[in-house]
């Protein structure tokens, strides 16, 4: 993260130069939301890459039937660590921590978040939890092998280092709660003059909905994890039938948090997409209020559907029916969003630049993931495909194809703003094309494999699944090469690329009205908001390709 600091990208240093401290302390002890945002960004990105490597290793093992490069025990540990790293260290803190911190305060016209020190503490808790998880891999009985869900009774009995890993996740939970509290307070209290609730950018709205889920659901995860530790260390027997406990209770408690957590992962991603689509369609967002409503509805309804993970675990038929029904209810606000994005595109002046390509990919992949989610939400088909590769395909479409691609879209859309330099467009499009192709080959094969009956979480499979598994593995290589090109191009561009000044995308949200990179307190003078976030009519053209005369002319024409 310091390479960026040393090779300073912009003449107008903005928040990069304006610091009392020097070296690494100017970062890890900074209370500036932009620096904390970048800390989050680079730490989550680092863990993402680690998770990608583990995922590639898993795919290599599954390339051919039988033992390819590792045995079952190693495989169990690798997929567990892959899941824990990707979920708890990348997706959950990724968008809110990195881009929420970077962009949200500027978007509402604030100088910083409401509690800057708490914000720094959140990052420290996150990184401490991450360190504890890393330590758990190399100490005690070795890396946990329970899957990221830590299901009892296995998690209470396995000799691997589950206790420490769970403690790490527990700490990270506090980071999420504090971030949530901080964001809710910031959005309520620090909006600039004229920034009414109806003028909040949709990314801010999605963060607001997410923050409430973080505040309300994460404590349950904390309690559940403490109970696992108590089970392992004190033998409390809460989840052990032999001692009067109930393992299904664990699944309830785990999913009461972890299903809403899925919405912590996807809601900010939807916010990113809602901000990018109108900018690159040159058209105000269609159905602003309904998108806001659907964010809140997803947060609320999404908290009531956890039981659909447990259709085969032993629940009453009534419970299955109710959970299945509620799951279908969540599809409604999700579909509202998709329809509104598509309607925004309609008759828009679409420019297919990299952020837009990633955003459009989000819509497609999220729709595929969401619709296959309904296959899983319906009780009858769920029992057919439960714990097969269909599930693996489904959640990778939603989490990676959804949140992951939204993260990439946000990287291309917002990072140049903070670096003052931009990536090269052509390699970015090439990278996107590779990733899109690789992604679909990799995960669509999984969906088909699941329908054919291949169970998940085994290092081996029947010979009849060999062809599609090989295809999936090859897809993973295409995806990975696209990822490498994308990151190389992006970071090369951010450090040495073309200057990025003014408002090249033509966004109407507040972050495009501050200097690039933004100064430490974001604005030269306190902004007064006079128009909505997608009101492009009031926008002044500052395109670098135009001379000042042409710009004035263009502005007069639009006025």
């Amino acid at each position: 993260m310091n390479s960026a600091d040393q090779t300073h990208p912009s003449e107008n240093g903005g928040f990069w130069s304006d610091t009392g401290k020097s070296g690494i302390t100017s970062w890890i002890f900074s209370t500036d939301h932009k620096r904390i945002g970048l800390l989050y960004f680079y730490s989550t990105l680092g863990f993402f890459l680690a998770g990608v490597l583990l995922g590639l290793v898993l795919r290599i093992e599954l390339m051919a039937p039988g033992r390819t490069i590792m045995g079952p025990d190693t495989y169990n540990a690798v997929f567990t660590v892959h899941g824990v790293v990707m979920i708890f260290l990348f997706i959950l803190p990724g968008l809110p921590g990195a881009f929420g911190n970077l962009v949200m305060p500027i978007q509402i016209g604030a100088r910083d978040v409401a509690f800057p020190r708490l914000n720094l503490l959140s990052w420290w808790l996150y990184i401490s939890g991450a360190a504890i998880i890393l330590i758990s891999l190399f100490t005690g009985g070795g890396p946990p092998d329970t899957g990221w869900t830590f299901y009892v009774p296995f998690s209470a009995r396995t000799g691997t280092n589950v206790t420490l890993a769970v403690f790490g996740v527990f700490i990270i939970g506090f980071s999420a709660i504090l971030t949530g509290l901080n964001f809710v307070t910031t959005i309520h209290r620090l909006r600039a003059e004229g920034m009414t609730w109806g003028r909040l950018p949709l990314f801010v709205w999605s963060l607001y909905a997410t923050a409430w889920v973080q505040i309300l659901a994460t404590p349950i995860l904390a309690v559940t994890l403490v109970l696992i530790m108590a089970e392992r260390l004190l033998g409390t027997g809460l989840f052990d039938p032999a001692q009067g406990g109930d393992p299904v209770m664990y699944q309830h408690m785990f999913w009461i948090y972890s299903h809403p957590a899925v919405y912590i992962m996807i809601l900010p991603a939807m916010g990113v997409i809602s901000d990018i689509i109108p900018v690159f369609s040159r058209k105000p967002i269609f159905g602003y209020k309904m998108i806001v409503f659907s964010s809140l509805a997803i947060a609320a309804a999404g908290s009531l559907v956890w039981g659909h993970h447990m259709f085969t675990s032993g629940m009453s038929d009534t419970a299955i029916l109710v959970f299945s029904f509620l799951t279908f209810i969540v599809a409604i606000p999700s579909a509202i969003k998709v329809f509104n994005w598509v309607s925004t595109l309609y008759k828009g002046s679409i420019s297919l630049e990299a952020p837009m390509l990633f955003a459009l990919t989000f819509i497609l992949l999220f729709s595929i993931g969401g619709l296959t989610g309904l296959v899983l939400g319906a009780a009858a088909t769920n029992i057919h495909v439960h714990d097969t590769y269909f599930v693996v395909g489904h959640f990778h479409y939603v989490m990676f194809g959804g949140s992951g691609f939204a993260f990439f879209a946000a990287m291309h859309y917002w990072l140049p703003k903070f670096y003052g330099r931009r990536y090269a467009e052509k390699p970015a499009v090439w990278a996107w094309a590779l990733m899109f192709t690789g992604f679909n080959i990799m995960y669509f094969s999984m969906k088909v494999l699941g329908l054919q009956g291949m169970p998940r979480r085994y290092y081996d499979y029947l010979p009849e699944f060999a062809t599609l598994n090989l295809a999936s593995t090859i897809g993973s290589w295409i995806l990975a090469s696209g990822l490498v090109i994308m990151l190389a191009n992006l970071f090369h561009g951010l450090l040495r690329g073309e200057p990025f000044v003014g408002n090249p995308w033509g966004g109407a949200t507040l972050e495009w009205s501050t200097p690039t990179p933004p100064p430490t307190e974001n604005f030269m003078e306190e902004p007064v908001v006079t128009h909505g976030p997608y009101d492009y009519a009031s926008l002044k053209f500052e395109l670098p390709c135009l001379s000042s005369k042409q710009q004035d002319q263009a502005n007069q024409e639009t006025a």
Partner: protein
Amino acid sequence: MLRFRGLMTGSILHALPCSHHLLIALLLALTLPTHPATAHSEEQQQNHQHQAPPQQQDQTASVGLDERLGAKIPLDLVFRDESGKAVRLTELVTGPTIILPVYYSCTNVCNYLQAGLARVLPQIKARPGTEYRVISLSFDETENPQQASRSKRMYLTSMNAPFPENGWRFLTGDAAAIHRLTAAAGYRFQRQGRDFIHPVASFIVARDGIIVRYLYGTSFLPKDLSLALLEAREGKVGKTIRTVMDFCFSFDPKGKTYVFNLLRVSATVVILCAGSFLAFLLLTARKRKQRNTEHT
């Protein structure tokens, strides 16, 4: 889940013509997880009776268990102890007392029941004989103190731990006394040749003879047993931590629910906190805006 278990035991009921079918059905039901055991097994028991085929209902209608929680067993009853000496229940029920209705010549579940108890008794922290007592009571009026004494030797030896003779008494008695006691406890059994059809259950009474808890099945959980004994200990205040535990986890068997619903209470607290946080943000924001407009 309940439904599945009910079906399972129900089908076994149909499949087995043996006279022990009820016992087996009960056993199956009762050895299942006992966490909210009282609730589950009671329901299942009712299920079994409903599901019993009609021709068998006559035989078994008088067999079963009606929980008489809060009822008093007559303490003036006289039985014979292992040595043949007459003892009055008041002399034995001097504190929390676990009463096991069995018969000593039983070749089946009574052994499991008593062996199950013998297995966990050494893990109970309370002192047997002084702080609590166990009574095995034969409901077969033809049995004699010699059989009782043999049973006593067997189970005390099987414990593999020192246990005072006085801590577990094995009684026999005449039909009238037996029936008064079992009727008071709602325990209904029936002779069938040399054997009996009877529920597999035991109950715990407090010093004044009030029934505080029924325990089902042949396997006991040390914690359940300790908790039941704690409930039965009247008038005495335990250590603070135990009192707290007692409050948090005491089970109301009549309402089939915990007295203190931890989940509901903590959920309410969380939602109240979040709600007041939101209210605080919304209400004070309005005030601040008013103040701002006043200034300008």
